[in-house]
């Protein structure tokens, strides 16, 4: 039989003003199983806690109920106190007679009766509480960073600098991401590559960073502290260990007219190529779709000229398994495809702006390449159609963003700023040119941001027109842009030489597939969801997985870098311990009752349920039952409510405990 101790707190007068605490203690003392009941002025004070500890020992108490404030306030306090007196902390419960009773009711009689019932309910509950052991799981102190853009690079460097190994996986042949494509960056106009490439080199040279470029995540198994990640290293056709990066192969490659993705198709590359001169690793890759050797079996020039014999046409994809304890997801963004409605997408497309049809209608990233000193035009702003310098240029903002009817309702955050930057770059390079910007509003919160934007108008003479463009068409070698200026209330028509669309930021293609592999949630646009919008902005709800950069939502570089460092800090916090401790509120399967319908697995938001084979001594399979991995289980209990036979139970919230409470009422 249980010997329960009940301690009713006055909370100064906060409780005792409306609740007759002496009567509560007296009444509750009569409940079956209650061996001791008392009241005290401040249970959470040192003397109060000592009273509790003393009573546990003297009265040989088996369970404790503290009737006081909300458990959200002091549950930890009292559980620690009972633990120090030798009782398992989970045999202590709190009855909330302050927030849920004395503070919300004025009538003393009613409040007292309610308090007695609340405490009675917790007495019945605590009787059914079980000793719960603290759960510890080991931590593999290596981390995986997915994505080698600025976010991934920053996170990888921070973690590696702390002395922990990092596995960095990049889908493209080189790290660098979008930031490597940019010309200059707002609000300081420093050269993107100048600040980016040293970091890329740091990654390449860091002894703690293991870089897998041209690789993708195949499979993620395990849980916080103990992930097993399978990486597909795609066949590069060039042996990275042998290649010296001399570039002779590219020089000799006869296929030279392949549009360069890095240069937004403005420049050309060879079939064996590095995406850009500063690529890390500086190892070429053969584009097998365009390579003559792969298409016809003939050629083979690159192999012939390669001194170290690095070119390997037989190379195949390799699968590599890496054990890691934490994962940083930094897959970044992609620009909104604006031509047609992509199949199966909720996004409608902006065919009316002529992108893809009118050659001189380009997107922001293409403009970056035109403006970049290392770009296809050597930094000159020239029209893709005829190579002429545009004298009238129109920038249109919010292409895709903030257009619910087109499928995207969010603001892409960076376009106002980069368009302002574009007008400046344009003005610096085409002194006699005129830039026009169609905009809805200018969103410039951020250090020195608004000043930057104003500069584009006040010093760089960009003309901002508040309003949207309704139509745009080619007329001779001009592009007629028709829009409205809603500030003045007139129709505007501009004959432009070039139009730049500030297209929306979207998550990378395949972001959803990766999320499913990782078991993390994502929103309807495929941006990854953080655990809490305000207080846990870099953690995923899935323990051990962290987010950095634009994969979580549109972000500029400073924000991305901050979040990447924050994610790295979270990883380092995790790695500071050898063993992870977690609250033992986890689901457990009663195997004898489990019939293997796996409803639990279907509803588990964490992917914590595994299939476990039960075999007899001869090794014959008897049946398959569910197993809940305590390291992964989040403790919501959805599995238990769904299990038809209640063969999975959430510790701390068992059916017995809950039914006991209902029956106490």
């Amino acid at each position: 039989m249980s010997r329960i101790g009940v301690f009713v707190c006055h909370c100064g007068e906060n409780i005792s003003r409306t609740v007759d605490v002496e009567r509560v203690a007296a009444q509750v003392g009569k409940l079956p199983g209650v061996a001791f009941a008392t009241d005290y002025k401040y249970m959470c004070s040192d003397p109060g806690q000592n009273l509790l500890k003393k009573a546990i020992i003297e009265q040989k108490l088996s369970h404790v109920v503290v009737a006081a404030c909300s458990p959200r306030m002091h549950e930890r306090t009292f559980r620690k106190a009972v633990e120090s007196a030798g009782i398992n902390p989970f045999l202590c419960e709190m009855a909330n007679i302050r927030e849920h009773c004395s503070w919300v009711h004025e009538n003393r009689e009613e409040a007292t009766v309610k308090a007695i019932e609340i405490v009675g309910m917790m007495v019945e509950r605590v009787k059914k509480n079980r000793v719960l052991p603290t759960i510890t799981v080991p931590v593999t102190k290596r981390s995986l960073v997915i994505g080698g853009g600025i976010a991934g690079i920053q996170a990888a460097l921070d973690i590696a600098d702390c002395g922990h190994e990092v596995v960095l996986v990049e889908r493209e042949p080189s790290i660098g991401g979008h930031m490597a494509q940019l010309s200059e960056t707002f609000p300081t106009l420093d050269c993107s590559q100048c600040i980016m490439t040293p970091k890329m080199v740091d990654v390449a040279n860091h002894p703690k960073i293991k870089l897998y470029s041209y690789s993708e995540i195949e499979l993620v198994e395990g849980y916080i502290g103990n992930f097993q990640v399978t990486i597909r290293k795609k066949a590069r056709s060039v042996d990275e260990d042998k290649c010296t990066g001399c570039g002779l192969c590219m020089e000799k490659c006869p296929i030279k007219k392949i549009p360069s993705k890095f240069d937004c198709n403005l420049g050309m590359r060879t079939a064996i190529y590095v995406p850009f001169p500063q690529a890390v690793p500086n190892t070429p890759v053969i584009d097998r779709e365009n390579c003559t050797k792969f298409k016809t079996g003939k050629c083979g020039l690159c192999q012939k000229v390669c001194g170290p014999g690095a070119v390997d046409y037989e190379q195949e994809d390799r699968l590599i398994v890496e054990p890691v304890g934490a994962i940083v997801v930094a897959t970044g963004f992609d620009l909104y495809t604006i031509n047609e409605k992509p199949k199966g997408s909720m996004i409608k497309g902006y065919g009316e702006f002529g992108h893809g049809k009118i050659p001189d209608v380009i997107d922001g990233m293409t403009f970056e390449r035109l403006a970049s000193a290392s770009g296809p035009t050597g930094g000159k702003i020239l029209r893709p159609s005829d190579g002429k310098e545009p004298k009238q240029i129109v920038f249109i903002q919010c292409i895709g963003s903030r257009a619910r009817e087109k499928g995207i309702s969010y603001c892409s955050k960076v376009c106002c700023m980069y368009t302002a930057k574009h007008t400046m770059l344009y003005h610096h390079k085409v002194h006699d040119g005129q830039a026009y910007v169609f905009f809805m509003d200018a969103r410039t919160p951020g250090k020195s941001y608004d000043e930057f934007w104003r500069r584009s108008i006040e010093e760089e003479e960009a003309v901002y027109i508040r309003g949207m463009v309704s139509r745009l068409y080619q007329k001779g070698d001009k592009i007629v842009v028709m829009g409205s200026d809603i500030a003045v209330g007139v129709q505007v028509e501009i004959e432009a030489d070039m139009v730049v669309l500030a297209t929306a930021i979207q998550p990378q293609k395949g972001a959803d597939t990766l999320a499913q592999k990782l078991g993390i949630s994502y929103d309807k646009y495929n941006f990854y969801s953080e655990a809490h919008a305000k207080l846990r902005p870099v953690e995923c709800a899935t323990a051990g997985i962290y987010l950095a950069g634009a994969c979580q939502g549109p972000k500029d570089i400073p924000d991305t870098v901050s979040q990447a460092s924050a994610a790295a800090a979270k990883v380092m916090t995790l790695f500071a311990k050898d063993q992870l401790e977690r609250e033992p509120i986890v689901a457990r399967v009663r195997e004898a009752g489990c019939v293997g319908c796996f409803y639990c697995k279907k509803v588990c938001p964490y992917g914590a349920v595994e299939e476990k084979e039960i075999r007899d001594r001869q090794g014959n399979l008897i049946r398959v039952v569910a197993y809940v991995n305590p390291g992964v289980c989040g403790g919501c209990g959805t599995c238990q409510a769904t299990c038809p036979s209640k063969s999975v139970e959430l510790d701390g919230y068992t059916d017995e405990q809950i039914v006991a409470m209902i029956e106490a009422l």
């Binding site: 927030e99 004025e106 949630s521």
Partner: protein
Amino acid sequence: MHSEKQKHSFEPKIIAFVCTWCTYAGADLAGTSRMQYPSNVRVLKFPCTGRIDPVFILKAFQQGADGVLVSGCHPGDCHYIAGNFHARRRFAAFRKLLEFVGVDLNRLQFSWVSAAEGGKWVEVVTDLTEKVRAMGPMAEFKQLALEEQWSGTIGTPELKEAYNAI
């Protein structure tokens, strides 16, 4: 100001099943803000609405609840990613079943109350209490609990009375 409280002939028993992250915290906030509401409600804390088994609602009615409230996080706010979404479907189905067997759904309230919505908690609890008070006691399950198969009834009334008076 302490207004004279109106005496009611019937005080309904309301049982609330709430999640710990949103509604329980919302109810705490109502307390911290010293809002006032009827004392009829008894709160049972769950980690998540996803943990709330329909059987508990049934059990609550069987144990004499006149009204039952189930409340958790708003869609998208679930601390456990999706527990409330599962709960929403489960209860959408369960209430239809209860309705079909003749339970008046005015006695069963579902709500989303966030940790910031102390006021909404007060409103939801007050509304349900008042509604159920106006409806009178939930007699169906209480009567049922007293009924026996004819062969198991204790025939003589005085014996039954003495027996039930324990």
